[in-house]
Symmetry: C2
Subunit: 239 residues, 2 copies
């Protein structure tokens, strides 16, 4: 009888044909009233010179999960670690990568443009591309399909939560949140519905400060530390 | 300069340390008013003799996606192919499998007990376990965590769709759908809310037949062929 110890002793992971495994992230931001996605120019083969998502292979010596791989690659490209990062589907099959049967675990995140703009400006092969201009790029692998899936997920989440706060500066006004929500959804929403949700969520606190907006002053808010992300039971658009 | 063709010619996939990749599925059914999950006894090391989810390695010669791997493994164990199967998260890390850094792509499905009961009865190492009895099992790997995640997702989806129809026989009554929904959610719901959703979904047609239920007769319904799955914008429990 083979015990588990004997079995593990003789086990050779390289004995079985295995898929190529990567991790790719779709990082969104808002800049100049446009929803943008971070693209990276491929420096090496395959598909050298094409633009694609920041990602790569798992470092099994150092990464303790695919989340760690995603964060490592995003931090390399943006200089900051997104405070909100969520796993999406995996994409797999024999034809998506010319090197062979491959599988990519995808993640998506939303970040404030101001936090990473200086770093991205200093990295020659990274660029924020407005979602509306993606059609001008011939993207690597199946990354167009992955971005489409992420965009769908981002919009769905925006209808049931206040996710857009993650692309705002640390302190922000109701007006900024409204604008970010409208840009992400691609349609206008009722200010009063959004403010009702904002208050009901219990996620924010008044900073006591305000900024001039036209003829009026608008209060500045910030996220409370360690408060759970609130999900609403109704779609924002049906409120 | 290395062209892509040169690069691919020299590329050796086994040159890089790679995680172990598996696919695991959480298959749910309803039987005797209990929500059950399909478990399989491990016939081989590691963790031989423990119960776990039906799954295994990707066959890169034959499977064209992880969905194909999940369906192949489920069909082997149940004799039927679930008509609804959805990807969940991946679970990964250095410690979840004693063979090394591993990643599993998880799927979940819901199926009618009658469809696969005879086949499962003939397979010695597969068993439907009521969710409430899982605490009596010491499950393999991190499969308890995966089942908990699947259960959460199943309940979330049930609040926004008529997903429970997938565990009913081909023709069913409103009462059966109500019961399945209540068992899955673990709480009672308003019959009139469910029927309003049933009608609004456009997913079903009257068979023209009915069955005796106590002193009354109840109509039998079935899913229309090729009708898209309908999602509601409100949580069933807030209706």
């Amino acid at each position: 009888m083979t015990t588990e110890a004997d079995y593990l002793n003789q086990y050779d992971v390289s004995r079985f044909p295995s898929p190529l495994v990567t991790v790719d992230s779709v990082l969104f931001t808002l800049h100049q009233q446009a929803l943008c996605v971070l693209l990276v120019e491929r420096a090496m083969q395959p598909q050298k010179g094409r633009w694609g998502l920041p990602g790569g292979f798992i470092d099994i010596e150092n990464d303790d999960s695919t989340r760690a791989t995603a964060l490592r690659k995003l931090t390399e490209k943006t200089g900051v670690s997104p405070s909100w990062l969520e796993q999406m589907d995996t994409f797999s099959g024999p034809d998506r990568d010319p090197r062979g049967w491959s599988l990519t675990v995808t993640w998506f995140a939303l970040i404030a443009w101001v936090d990473c703009a200086p770093h991205i400006a200093s990295v020659s092969n990274a660029r924020w591309v407005p979602v509306d201009e993606l059609k001008n790029y011939s993207l690597a692998f199946d990354h167009e399909k992955i971005i489409t899936a992420a965009l769908h997920r981002l919009r769905q989440k925006t209808m049931y939560s206040l996710l857009p706060v993650y692309c705002l500066p640390e302190t922000f006004t109701h007006g900024q949140l409204l604008e970010a929500t409208e840009v992400i959804l691609g349609q206008s929403i009722q200010r009063k519905s959004l403010i009702r949700r904002f208050e009901a969520s219990g996620m924010f606190e008044d900073t006591g400060e305000s900024v001039a907006t036209g003829t009026r002053k608008a209060r500045l808010w910030r996220r409370k530390p360690n408060v759970d992300f609130h999900f609403f039971s109704r779609n924002l658009l049906t409120d």
